[in-house]
């Protein structure tokens, strides 16, 4: 009995009137955990009852603590008839189960009813007393921390990043049980909510166990999704990255926080200890006896655990200790159709179809799987011989082999992270993706997870082999998704093939000096762009040039990735959101015919989506995409493809060529004229975009000493790729063959439409920027105002004469109009940037398209000059930071002079003139930015540190920073600006953001994961304001419930917030609608930097004040 859960019901308020006669309510509360229920007294005749109950105590296993939610039901007492339920509150007590998170849950929770929505609030206090239980064979994984954040959380440092963890549980969907025919919609909804809550708890516990087996203590980048398969079941699945995290003891010990996560990350001293984990048993001692027995949760018997736990249970042994692993392979038409491998984007994709899944239809093919470790090693050595000479000797080869050994132990070397500790990411190969169409009604044993596990395993293998083909041993920024329509399900997975530094992956095999050397050899900020594959043995013919940054290594001309822009990457100008949108009509069909039709369409869609992305990227004058997410949605009669990414100009990559239009009938004069007109328009657009996004890369002289002259630039080509995967894949050649990809041939009206649609994308109004990544490249001076929002649109297509063209246009307009509306709505925040713009498309019915967008608008200070030299200095800092001694010598000194400069910052007019003057050295710019917010101040602080780092490295001792005379004007301005910020942070405000950070603030504590699932249903749709009124109210309520839970945990923000599902169904004829929403995020406590500063800065100010009166400071 390892835990005691204590609950106290304090009071209620704003309860609904349940007794029409008295206009009052006789409320009481039932508190349920597992199978135990307590009740409070009835509080008669009040809408604001004060129960002030005793402590209800539940003595429970920690396994139950993890799985079960605390269920609080508020009822109206009725002497003569059954008591009426007012509503419920589910509280996930998981955050109380690990020591560093919350210690108590206490606060007002909205009382929620699936039919009526929120009906008043209840004040509850929850505590848990955990008894330490050292039983090794335990079922629970209390203590493993979960984070939705896809980077190392701010107050932690990564000791080891272990790798991929996944789990999947299945149950019968209560909505499809026979009992659903006789129970009320409310009962059915509540059964579903409770079941998903239970399944989420169980899933998390099981993933936690896997993490403990890997000797980790946390899961980062945890992504949980549910699939409503309908008749065949309800699937809850999750993926994440197991890590060993160390809590940074004191936030005060570090340099003052800054507003961008990139910088904060650099402050974290990553472990240099070559032997971080002393418990490591090493690869030589397999722990074969570690197989734990799993028993499914007692609470309900139908679901069971994922089948492939056996592999992760023996993490230190050879990859397949059980000998040849048998794959149950999809049967005969194992048609892995088409891989439109775009060479430039380095994208490998594959869609495979296995319509005849069940084994009784066709003979089962048993195939021995190849040993992946062997293959990887081969690939690695091949690579080493090919490029080692150029890349700084045998070190790289050695490194590869070591990384190899670190990764070969893993079945899937995948990482759900999108941002990494500095030095972690060595090279990026490109996007890898795999899709597969499955028939849900062919699942052999629908209540067991085996089939789905096998499906996902198949897809992951696919991904792994694609990565291998790109010369990469790992996949980062990895994610999985599904799209279900009736009995057809598309499973998708994508990620970015990469080569990683083994330092964080392994314990004790890498020698420190090697890393150092390796790091020294790495060219600054461009290393990740260098091709990981062997030039002579490329997986596909690619067009390569020497890196425009270091001139030593080869780079592709375009780079597509699913990760965030690495913090050390050097970019020119700003980034922008780029979307490719595509619809394809499909005949309505049944079962296999349907699946076949979809599979046949998929490769074409992927191909077109990529062509569109590439064209739009060129049109923007940029050369790389980050955060790429391609969503393919299946409907009854169509397929929709929506790709979103953030385009940037990477300095390491070559300048993109333009787009050329060519007509097919060159003899026609008017036609020629038309073509040239179009060409002009395109060229104008490119020029305009370059100006808009400030893309003016520095001219690099072609002859740089020591580096060979790059090959003459050609326009990039789209060529067919050879998949390296060992499957007998029937390759579909979808590429343009020998044609030039960026010669757009206008041979029919379709192509004309395409060109037109390229030009219809309107840039955001001035003052607005948008991206779908965490940070906007080129903007780093965020101010503290943020606004997270969700916007939903459902559009009905007129079903007459739908063609692909009209469909495309409709879809395009829908997305563009939605964006325009967002810009209009948020116009008061200008200058601002929409970050983490996340579009989701679903096709709820025949003619309906639903688009859901969640993003955050963040204001920034346009007065601060974007420092182009910044990145340069940053790199120096990075180098310097490797040398701890140097770094440690100057922090105090630095604090002194940056602080000194602050109160005497020059007047604004001076600032602008100063910063616009390009001749001014970086240091002076740093001091002359607008100090109106503290965030900026920190920036400048960092700048100064960077400068120091640089100076010290160069061996020069003195730098002079001139500081102009004090101006009362600026000080006044500062106060004025900071005052409203304080007013905003009144009690009770909970910020929500899809980003992992809060601008202008420092996260001081992670309180636990928020993972909530709600159903709302109505039978009076018109009375609730129609579909819009209904959904608007519901989403507002979901936000409210998330905020209430965070506030009860003692937090003031949710970071990495995501609305994973928003399933909306309506039946206006019956006046009914139903919606399911699943949201998650990390509850945190943040402290404004201005508040932090008061504490940390007082002393230095006092000591430096006299020194800075001179106006010039020599250091």
């Amino acid at each position: 009995m390892p835990g005691k859960l204590k609950v106290k019901i304090v009071a209620g308020r704003h309860l609904p009137v349940m007794d029409r006669a008295s206009d009052l309510t006789d409320a009481f509360v039932e508190v349920k955990f597992g199978n135990t229920t307590f009740k409070t007294d009835v509080y008669h005749k009040s809408l604001n009852p004060q129960w002030n109950s005793e402590w209800f105590k539940f003595e429970v296993d920690d396994e139950d603590l993890q799985d079960e939610p605390l269920q609080i039901t508020v009822l109206d007492h009725d002497t003569y008839s059954a008591n009426d339920a007012i509503g419920k509150v589910y509280i996930d007590i998981d955050p109380l189960l690990y020591s560093e998170a919350a210690t108590v849950i206490s606060g007002w929770f909205p009382i929620y009813d699936t039919i009526h929505g929120i009906r008043g609030e209840i004040n509850v206090v929850v505590k848990v007393d955990l008894f330490n239980d050292l039983n090794r064979f335990r079922q629970s994984s209390c203590g493993v921390k979960f984070f939705c954040t896809t980077s190392i959380p701010k107050c932690y440092r990564a000791v080891i990043i272990h790798g991929f963890v996944e789990e999947l549980v299945v149950n019968e969907d209560p909505e499809y049980q026979w009992i659903d025919r006789i129970r009320t919609p409310r009962a059915s909804n509540e059964a579903r909510q409770r079941l998903i809550s239970l399944m989420s708890g169980e899933l998390q516990r099981k993933i936690g166990l896997k993490v403990l087996e890997m000797r980790g203590n946390a899961v980062v980048g945890y992504l949980q999704c549910f699939d409503l398969e309908g008749e065949s079941g309800l699937v809850v699945r999750a993926i994440g990255t197991a890590c060993t995290l160390d809590k940074l003891s004191s936030t005060a010990a570090f340099l003052p926080a800054c507003n961008s996560p990139s910088k904060e990350m650099k402050e974290i001293p990553f472990n240099e200890d070559p032997n971080p984990n002393t418990h490591s048993s090493g690869p030589s001692t397999p722990l074969k006896n570690q197989t734990y027995s799993f028993s499914p949760s007692k609470s309900y018997s139908r679901q069971s655990s994922s089948s492939d736990t056996d592999l992760s249970l023996t993490p230190k042994t050879a990859p397949y200790p059980q000998g040849p692993r048998i794959f149950l392979c999809p049967s005969s038409p194992s048609l892995s159709s088409g891989s439109p491998h775009l060479k430039k984007s380095c994208l490998l994709s594959e869609s495979s179809l296995t319509p005849h899944h069940s084994s009784h239809i066709s003979p089962v093919v048993l195939r021995k799987s190849v040993s992946f470790s062997e293959e990887l090693l081969l690939a690695a050595s091949g690579m080493g011989s090919g490029s080692a000479g150029k890349e700084g000797g045998p070190f790289k080869a050695l490194l590869r082999q070591q990384t190899q050994s670190a990764l070969e132990q893993r079945e899937f070397p995948f990482f759900t992270l999108t941002a990494f500790p500095p030095g972690f990411l060595v090279h990026v190969g490109g996007v890898v993706s795999a899709r597969s169409v499955k028939l849900l009604d062919r699942i052999h044993n629908p209540d067991e997870p085996e089939t789905r596990d096998a499906w996902w395993a198949e897809i992951r293998q696919e991904i792994k082999s694609h990565a291998k083909a790109l010369g990469c041993h790992a996949v980062v920024g990895y994610s999985e998704s599904t799209s279900i329509c009736e009995e057809v399900c598309i499973l998708s997975a994508s990620g970015t093939a990469a080569v990683l530094n083994p330092r964080f992956l392994q314990d004790g095999t890498v020698e420190g000096c090697l890393e150092q050397r390796q790091e020294e050899n790495l060219p600054p900020g461009c290393g990740f762009c260098h091709i990981p594959y062997d030039e002579l043995n490329m997986p596909f013919p690619a067009h390569l040039t020497y890196c425009y940054s270091c001139r030593k290594q080869k780079v592709p001309d375009v780079l597509f990735t699913t990760i965030d822009l690495p913090t050390d990457a050097t970019v020119v100008g700003k980034g922008c959101l780029i979307q490719a949108r595509l619809c394809r009509l499909k005949k309505k069909a049944q079962a296999e015919a349907n699946a076949t039709a979809i599979s046949n369409l998929l490769p074409f869609m992927e191909y077109e989506v990529h062509t569109q992305l590439m064209n739009k990227l060129k049109l923007k004058g940029m050369n790389a995409l980050f955060g790429l997410r391609i969503q393919i949605t299946v409907g009854e009669n169509m397929l929709m493809g929506l790709a979103s990414a953030t385009g940037v100009y990477l300095t390491a990559l070559p300048t993109p060529g333009g787009i050329q239009i060519a007509g097919k009938t060159p003899n026609d004069g008017s036609y020629e004229q038309h073509i040239s007109h179009m060409q002009k328009k395109i060229n104008d657009t490119i020029a305009k975009n370059k100006e808009l996004y400030e893309i003016n890369p520095p001219e690099i002289p072609e002859e740089i000493i020591g580096s060979p002259i790059p090959e003459p630039r050609q326009r990039s080509r789209l060529l067919r790729s050879q998949s390296e995967s060992s499957d007998e894949v029937i390759e579909l050649d979808l590429s343009h063959g020998k044609k030039d990809a960026f010669v757009l041939e206008i041979d029919d009206t379709d192509a004309m439409e395409d060109v037109h649609s390229l030009l219809t994308d309107v840039p955001p109004p001035s003052g607005f920027y948008s991206c779908n990544t965490e940070i906007m490249p080129g903007i780093n001076n965020w101010t503290s105002e943020i606004q997270m929002f969700t916007s939903v649109r459902v559009s009905r297509l007129s079903n007459i004469n739908l063609t692909n063209q009209t469909l495309n246009k409709n879809f395009n307009d829908l997305c563009e109009n939605l964006l325009k509306s967002l810009y209009f709505k948020l116009r008061s925040m200008i200058p601002c940037c929409l970050c983490h713009v996340n579009f989701t498309v679903s096709l709820p019915e025949d003619e309906l398209i639903q688009i859901t967008v969640t993003a955050v608008a963040i204001t920034f200070d346009k007065h601060q000059a974007v420092q182009t030299t910044k990145t340069h200095v940053e790199k120096s800092l990075q180098r310097a930071s490797a040398d701890n001694e140097e770094l440690l010598q100057f922090p105090l000194e630095l604090c002194t002079d940056s602080l000194a400069s602050h109160p005497f910052s020059p007047a604004k007019e001076h600032l602008e003139s100063a910063s616009s003057n390009s001749g001014i050295p970086a240091a002076q710019r740093a001091t002359s930015i607008d100090y109106s917010s503290f965030a900026d101040r920190c920036n400048s602080w960092i700048e100064l540190i960077k400068l120091k780092a640089q100076t010290i490295r160069r061996g020069s001792i003195k730098t002079t920073v001139s500081v102009e005379k004090a101006s009362p004007l600026t000080e006044g301005h500062f106060r004025q600006r900071s005052a409203p910020a304080c007013a905003n942070s009144t009690v009770g405000v909970v910020k929500m953001t899809p980003l992992s950070f809060i601008p202008g603030a420092k996260i001081t504590k992670y309180l636990g994961i928020i993972n909530m699932f709600f159903i709302r249903e109505t039978t009076s749709l018109r009375e609730e304001g129609g579909v819009s009124g209904f959904l608007h109210a519901f989403i507002a309520e979901v936000f409210a419930m998330v905020r209430a839970h965070v506030a009860a945990l003692g937090g003031n923000a949710v970071v990495s917030y995501i609305m994973k599902q928003c399933v909306f169904m309506e039946n206006p004829n019956k006046n009914q609608a139903q919606c399911l929403i699943n949201v998650s995020g990390d509850a945190v406590i943040f402290v404004r930097e201005s508040e932090l500063e008061i504490i940390s800065a007082q002393q230095p100010i006092a000591s430096c004040q006299p020194a800075c009166s001179g106006g010039e400071i020599a250091t």
Binding site: N810, Q850, V989, S1028, A1040
Partner: protein, 328 residues
């Protein structure tokens, strides 16, 4: 292709003040869109009419959802569904409870009943305030009236506490409640020239001096009703008019004191009482003031008049009201 559903939900509820005003003024969505277009917003922002339509609809929906909470403003402060900064909450409440001068002059002193509500059509036509807005304002009056009607303590204070209004607006509501409760007919032709401000001023003085609350701050309905005892006592003052001797004496005292000081002395002597004659004779305000001062002061010199305190309670208020009301 039509949007069946179109919503925007922010973690912080977006409030557009201009659209809020249009909503409060009772314009339909399409009218509001039209007015916004005319304001030149499309040119300023480069938005399309469709965007504006969607935006207006969205704001109207939000306001509609907030309206339920605005009926009991403390709920707006404690609710969890809409995260709104305190300053914005105050703005929402204050604007929601604000009323039009034209409208209030029509309704002031009338019973806040269903009957009056039926007349709102006419009031709307007469005042040019949309019917929707009239309804809101009328319902606000009625709601405030119902809540504070039977409450102890200061009327304005109660209103402020239960509706979180500004000091100024709470006092205006106190006047509305006071007039409605006492059914002071303010719609008479003779009183048409008076502004709501004049009447509110008088109401405030009357509340201060003539209600039970003026004597005892612990009684029920202390500020809403006039002090019955006081009204009863006022009959005693009739003696000043009824008793011929007293009247003559009073008259001569006033006349003596004011001789030579008033430019309109002959008329005063002849009329001796009340605003309308004075107004028709175009007395300067200063003369009226002098007269009234003397009129109330000289009573103290009347021997045999026993109700000095009562006279003061009556006359101090009346004098201020008369002076305030004495304008064109």
């Amino acid at each position: 292709m039509t949007n069946e559903l179109d919503i925007f939900v922010g973690n912080t509820t977006l409030i557009d003040e201009d659209v809020y005003r249009l909503w409060l003024d009772g314009y339909s969505v399409s009218d509001a869109v039209g007015l916004r277009v005319r304001s030149g917003i499309l040119e300023q922002t480069g938005a399309t009419a469709g965007v504006l339509q969607s935006d207006t609809m969205d704001h109207y929906r939000t306001f509609h959802m907030l309206e339920r909470l605005l009926h009991t403003p403390p709920k707006l402060l404690h609710q969890l569904v809409f995260q709104i900064p305190p300053s914005r909450q105050a703005l929402l409440i204050e604007r929601y409870y604000a009323f039009d001068e034209a409208f209030v002059r029509e309704v002031l002193g009338k019973k806040l009943s269903k009957g009056t509500k039926k007349d709102l059509d006419d009031i709307s036509t007469k005042t040019g305030v949309t019917l929707k807005s009239c309804r809101r304002q009328f319902d606000n009056f009625k709601r405030v009236f119902k809540v504070v009607e039977e409450m102890r303590g200061s009327l304005a204070g109660n209103i402020q506490q239960h509706f979180l209004l500004s000091d100024r607006l709470a006092r205006d509501y106190a006047a509305v409640v006071f007039f409605a409760n006492n059914r002071f007919e303010t719609g008479k032709k003779k009183l048409q020239y008076l502004t709501f401000g004049d009447l509110a001023f008088c109401a405030e003085l009357m509340i201060q001096n003539w209600t039970p609350g003026a004597v005892d701050s612990q009684v029920d309905d202390m500020d809403v009703d006039l002090d019955k005892e006081f009204l009863q006592d006022l009959k005693e003052l009739k003696v000043l008019v009824a008793d011929k001797d007293l009247l003559d004496l009073h008259k001569s005292l006033v006349c003596t004191a004011l001789r030579g000081k008033l430019s309109v002395f002959p008329e005063m002597e002849a009329n001796f009482k009340f605003i309308e004659p004075c107004r028709s004779d175009r007395w300067p305000l200063n003369d009226v003031r002098l007269f009234l001062n003397q009129y109330s002061a000289s009573v103290h010199s009347l021997d045999g008049f026993r109700h000095q305190a009562l006279w003061d309670r009556y006359m101090v208020t009346l004098r201020s009201c008369l002076l305030r009301m004495y304008h064109d």
